[in-house]
């Protein structure tokens, strides 16, 4: 590990990309930054600009209107970057897409089809501790990247 990589792991900044969804996972992410489940002791900080971020938190199934915006957000984040898909919708579209039914015309598939995902956090919504566990795995991914 270089000095640069060490510095990145000790202060990872996070951008929360909301792609459709019903706001439940977003409330849990807000709870993660509250004083009870404090993530800022790990150095994680919530930013409102993708150009400052190292980690992307994506929630919700991606509708067709949001797809170009999500691609643009992904291209705006500087390398190295880690993408975390939070909730059942982001991993496999949750209850909105069945295998036997015809495809949903409003969806552009799960997040995995559009941008490469590193960590999956299942749950509907996942508990705040589960999201902290996912962030801890994301830091391991970030340490290995150059």
């Amino acid at each position: 590990m270089n000095l640069k990589q060490k510095a990145r792991v000790y202060s990872p900044w996070v951008f929360h990309a909301h792609a459709g969804g019903c706001n439940n996972c977003d409330i849990e992410i807000a709870a993660v930054f509250s004083p009870r489940f404090d993530v800022e002791r790990m150095g994680v900080k919530l930013k409102n600009n993708p150009r400052h971020a190292d980690i992307l938190l994506v929630t919700g199934p991606v509708p067709k209107q949001v797809e170009p915006a999500l691609k643009r957000i992904y291209n705006q984040t500087p390398n190295p970057k880690v993408v975390v898909a939070i909730g059942g919708c982001a991993i496999d579209c949750g209850p909105y897409n069945y295998d036997d039914a015809p495809e949903n015309y409003a969806l552009a598939g799960p997040v995995n089809k559009i941008i490469p995902v590193d960590v999956y956090v299942p749950g509907c919504p996942p508990r705040p501790e589960a999201i902290i566990h996912g962030l801890a795995l994301a830091l391991e991914c970030l340490a290995l990247k150059k």
């Binding site: 009870r36 209850p95 999956y120 566990h133």
Partner: protein, 189 residues
């Protein structure tokens, strides 16, 4: 109203003394692995492999179609994909043998998508006439026992012979061989 205010003031006084933030990964309570988790909390699935019969009741009730039955080479696998699961607990409620249960384990984050599967595999039985795989072994035995439980002793001896004859055939072969087995309605008149 007064009681509620008293409770609130008590909680406030407690929180002045100690730190509110929960430790990670262990909880604030000694001896508890997970913080603030209740025993009936809905988390990761767990099969009881001795009890499961592979009937597929959980797959029919699943609200997001995560549970699937895959029949391959004489083995039926009940596979659950946790990525699409909603953790509603319908599969736990409808399971006739109480084999599926939701444990309070919720830290399920993973780097590989393939490790989010929970699986259980069972042996199957061939049909005697057409030699296709139809049901699992355990399912046939449980159907036998459950049907014979509620019958009168007079009809039980007659039914025992019939059930052992019919359960070894698939539903299509039962229609074809109905005249031989004397189940055809024309035989009754």
């Amino acid at each position: 109203m007064v009681n509620g205010m008293a409770m609130l003031i008590k909680e406030l006084l407690k929180n002045i003394k100690q730190c509110i933030t929960i430790d990670y990964p262990a909880g604030t309570w000694p001896g508890k692995k997970y913080s603030q988790i209740v025993p009936y909390g809905r988390g990761m699935h767990e099969f009881d492999e001795e009890k499961c019969i592979g009937c597929g009741a959980c797959a029919s009730m699943c609200s997001s179609k995560t549970i699937k039955l895959i029949d391959e080479e004489g083995k039926r696998t009940v596979s659950i994909y946790l990525g699409r699961c909603i953790f509603c607990g319908k599969c736990q409620d409808i399971c006739p043998e109480e084999a599926l249960k939701l444990t309070p384990k919720y830290e399920l984050a993973n780097i590989n998508e393939e490790k989010l599967y929970v699986k259980n595999s069972l042996n199957m039985v061939k049909c005697e006439s057409c030699e296709k795989f139809i049901f699992t072994e355990k399912q046939i035995n449980t159907v036998k026992n459950k049907v014979l439980e509620n019958l009168k002793p007079e009809t039980k001896e007659k039914m025992k012979l019939d059930i052992e004859k019919y359960l070894k055939l698939c539903p299509d072969c039962r229609k074809i061989l109905s005249f031989k087995l004397e189940t055809h309605p024309r035989k009754l008149y």
